[in-house]
Amino acid sequence: MTLKTNWAEMVNPAVRDIAPSGIRRFFDLVTEMKDIISLGVGEPDFVTPWHIREACVYSLEKGYTMYTSNHGLLELREEISRDVSQNYKVSYDPRSEILITVGVSEGLDLAMRALLCPGDEVLVPEPSYVSYAPLAVLGGGKPVHLKTSADNGFQLTADIVEKALTPRTKIILLGYPNNPTGATIDREHLLDIAELARAHNLIVISDEIYDKLTYVGEHTCVSSLPGMRERTILLNGFSKSYAMTGWRVGYAAGNSDFIAAMTKIHQYSMLCAPITAQVAALEALRNGQSEMRKMIAQYSRRRRLVVDAFREIGLPCFEPRGAFYAFPDIRCTGLSSDEFAVELLKEEKVLVVPGSAFGEQGEGFVRCAYAASVKDLMEAFKRIGNFVRRRTGRGKVVTFYFGKMEQKDNEIRKTV
């Protein structure tokens, strides 16, 4: 007689207790549906620019199919170092302070695992990207949620941080421009948070994957702030700015001892990032600026359209200043964010992501990605408008705003 293994019992409780993803069920819902318009996609609607794909095809023809060094191609690290120092005036030594990772995703995992001891606390703003808290847990730490809300533009402030500090606080996670809210963070807020980090000897993990997608004001790189280079792990990648999500390549930059520690884990669990992706990333940095700017100009134009559409529909929406998400407040419909998303999908075949998938603080909101064609966006908003009108039983809802739409964006929508 063979004993049947009870896998549920075998699974590490830390893994078992991670809540299932809030978006899984939508896959089942959409399988039998046709003609849906999805605003639920958190990745560019562009295919990777051709010159990048072409460079990578050539590398395959030439037989670049081997491992690279654990750190990644030196040429790529040099190019990243140049790019970061050119954009933010922070310099990293390509030989010891930069590690090529399998996307920011791996960078987050490595940073947490290399830093956390059991019980260490990680401050995670909410709403935020879905992997921060689970990775903190898997790294043995304890995520502590910091609530940000629409009335302060979903920005983290030193006040909020200070209230959450305990002797076990070790890491502050920052992710601006933000997924799912589209918020950016003001330099002044960052300066205050930086001061706290210095005073309490905290490490900042800064996920700046949307840095180039900043439409109002300028992005501040956390490690460029006074005294922060030494206590910041800068994570970035190619997924969003160069439309390279499927390639799986990114990087971590920081203190050389810490990069060495991350590299220790990386060398055993990953060995190296795929060489093909590294070659593509190199081409992106060397020759991809103009194509990147064109894509960003497109997002920037759509952003205005989206904000305008919500005004028209009558859903309050704080002005998103970065990434490619809008995060309207749907409470006036009387629905929870999950109900809103499910019923909108069933009735109007438009897919949005319930805000609750990004933490409790996202309840009452939905995430609409505008990484979609203008044509699809217009049709989607027509349908959302119909839905909201039916639910509110009103012609047009009197709109109130969380702050005014900034007329003056940084004009990156211009390509000429």
């Binding site: 993803s21 978006i23 939508f26 896959f27 959409v30 849906i36 999805s38 639920g40 996609v41 958190g42 990745e43 609607d45 295919v47 990207y129 879905v130 992997s131 997924n179 134009r301 759509r302 205005r304 359209l305 305008d308 559409a309 897919l351 992501v353 998938a357 203008v374 044509k375 217009m378 739409m405 007329q407 964006d409 929508r413 211009k414 390509t415 000429v416």
Partner: protein, 159 residues
């Protein structure tokens, strides 16, 4: 203004209202600018790109290199005009290099094009010689790939 042109160049069907929303301007202002651009002939027209091949339509087109001797006083322009006035001529451009004009022509059949070249074009005053190249297949026109297989392949929902 340049932004309005850029937007219309990629999608001529955008309405002034939509353009206004994208650019954060008001609708009347945008409509006024467009009117003005049309009046000044900066906007030359609005077209639909059609893949006639797909319809199985027998539409032959050809690219013709034309060498001419420029006319005193008016240079190449007068000869070019005599050519571009023919409705079957789709485009005429003055070129640097081995020949002077490049003429794109779209006719019903090969025979019609041959007829046009020999009876109208080659025999025209100041035209020294022509070389006709028939188009076998169009892959990309007006910046648009004819059969682009790269549709949206993303998963419908991604965190």
């Amino acid at each position: 203004m340049k932004e309005i042109l850029e937007l219309l160049e990629t999608d001529a069907r955008l309405t002034p209202g939509q353009i206004a929303a994208i650019l954060g301007k008001n609708e009347e202002e945008v409509a006024g600018i467009i009117k003005d651009l049309e009046r000044k002939n900066i906007i030359n027209g609005y077209f639909t790109l059609i893949n006639w091949d797909k319809l199985g339509a027998e539409k032959v087109s050809a690219l013709i290199e034309v060498k001419i001797s420029p006319q005193r006083d008016v240079g190449f322009d007068a000869v070019a005009e005599r050519i571009y006035r023919f409705p079957e001529v789709r485009s005429v451009r003055l070129m640097s290099g081995a020949y002077d004009l490049v003429v794109m022509i779209e006719g019903g059949t090969m025979k019609e094009i041959a007829h046009f070249v020999s009876f109208k074009l080659a025999s025209m005053e100041y035209v020294l010689s022509t070389a006709t190249h028939f188009v076998l297949k169009t892959y990309k026109h007006h910046g648009t790939i004819v059969e682009d297989g790269e549709d949206d392949r993303r998963q419908v929902i991604v965190p």
